[in-house]
Symmetry: C2
Subunit: 259 residues, 2 copies
């Protein structure tokens, strides 16, 4: 079971959209995939029509140490795709874990217990992160084998990369020596604008060999899909965005072969 | 001096772009405007070419109580527009203020001291918030007279409104009884898609009388401007996005007349 953190503190760059659609594309190839939603907005959950109520065990319960992962895993409408849903009370986790020993290792420890005991043999866990570098994202980076960075082809998103890279290196040094950047994927790319091109060139220079060949285009069908509670790949499999996520899954599996 | 928090925990909805361009448009009408950047990404600062170094007093120093606002105010390239810059160390504020008495009132107290003593008579302070509902956003909501909510015309952004509204009401009840939603402004609106329309209708039903007539269109010139260190209104004053922010400023001044 490979754990990939989908992280970028810049808001609105396509983290959740990538977790849902890459997850679905990997599931479509027969892999068993778990999305772990650590965002208090819980968009990865509601985006595929999983709406936890007050009795549902969520990622909050796992992170505060009240429940094992196995109790929080729910099936989704997508074959081979499961989810540990997020919940608004995740925004209190930073306060609640304050001062407790090993707060950063909660998710790592929960996932390694799950790996050993889960009835379903998962191939991938995709951890959707909130737009910040707080205890939730640090937990994800500490639990992950590698980080997938969605990068919107825009100026502010490019600016944020240095901060993100610094955080990844800090986690690698202090908490998770195995952590690597698995790849950077350009999202909402608009080939009609020079801006997208400039950002793409800039990031390929800064992160040689890390930027995926596959680029996710800006595509309205992708942003319509969550309002139907479906991944774009199922909502409209012929849309340019859906095809790009299917290519991304193939490219990711290729890269992982080398691991 | 009216303080407006520009807040929405959903990432990438146009908070910073609104702070910069609404600020510039208000300044162009002769108002004295201060942008207060509380985001660790400091996009509102770098977006108008203000890059604090380690000696610069930033909003971090104000929030941890080390410096008064007056020491952090910097001029910008835009006449009548000043800024208190953000800094990456803001991401540590939540930990640093943990447990201290009145942590939520730091910004309110700092701004009321500034109001009384500032040599420049400011008409507006626009507080740019990070994409979360943590102590930084709560400080902004507690210090503000009103909240301006940028809302991207997309599904996930619409979903987040209920959480935002709940937080605003909680701050109003416990910390800042005068707090009101000044308005909701639709951003990155694409009239070619049905999605934008659906979101617009939905939000006008939930927040009658709060949604601005002015809608900010998706406009590539707006997203190009920060890479030139300029507000869109100066980078390209004839762009659709720039003209929309100028109309928004007029509409805001109209609304404020009634206050
Ligand atoms: N390729 C795409 N084409 C068009 N719209 C997209 C695309 N990818 C994402 N979107 C839309 O852009 C918005 C931001 O994407 P998303 O919510 O996935 O980003 P995020 O990084 O998870 O945001 P947050 O920082 O708030 O968690 C959403 O409304 C989404 O539907
Ligand atoms: N009207 C617009 N047309 C086109 N692009 C826009 C528009 N408004 C904002 N953008 C771009 O969309 C991206 C998100 O906007 P912005 O960074 O202002 O949002 P934010 O809410 O401040 O994000 P964060 O949650 O990370 O603080 C930026 O790259 C910005 O340049
Ligand atoms: Mg998200
Ligand atoms: Mg911002």
């Amino acid at each position: 079971m490979r754990a990939l953190a989908i992280a970028n503190q810049k808001g609105g760059v396509g983290k959740t959209t990538t977790a849902i659609n890459l997850g679905t594309a990997l599931a479509a190839t027969g892999k068993h995939v778990l999305i772990f939603d650590t965002d208090p907005q819980a968009n990865a959950s509601t985006g595929i029509d999983v709406r936890p109520d007050n009795d549902t065990v969520t990622s909050y319960d796992v992170l505060v140490g009240a429940q094992p992962v196995a109790k929080a895993v729910l099936p989704t409408k997508v074959p081979n795709l499961w989810i540990v849903p997020g919940h608004v009370n995740l925004s209190g986790v930073e306060m609640e874990l304050m001062g407790t020993q090993g707060a950063q290792f909660r998710l790592r420890d929960a996932l390694s217990a799950f790996r050993a005991s889960s009835e379903i043999k998962f191939d991938y866990v995709l951890i959707d992160c909130p737009p910040s570098l707080n205890v939730l994202t640090v937990n994800a980076l500490t639990a992950a084998d590698a980080v997938l960075v969605p990068l919107q082809a825009e100026y502010f998103a490019l600016e944020g990369l240095a901060q993100l890279n610094a955080t990844i290196n800090a986690v690698k040094q202090n908490l998770n020596p195995a952590l690597e950047i698995q790849g950077v994927v350009l999202t909402m790319y608009d080939k009609r604008t020079a801006l997208s091109d400039q950002v793409a060139q800039e990031v390929r220079t800064h992160f040689p060999d890390k930027v995926y060949e596959t680029v996710i285009p800006r595509n309205v069908r992708v942003s319509e899909a969550p309002s139907h509670g479906l991944p774009a790949i199922i909502y409209d499999q012929n849309a340019a965005g859906s095809k790009a996520y299917i290519r991304l899954a193939k490219e990711l599996i290729e890269r992982e072969r080398g691991v």
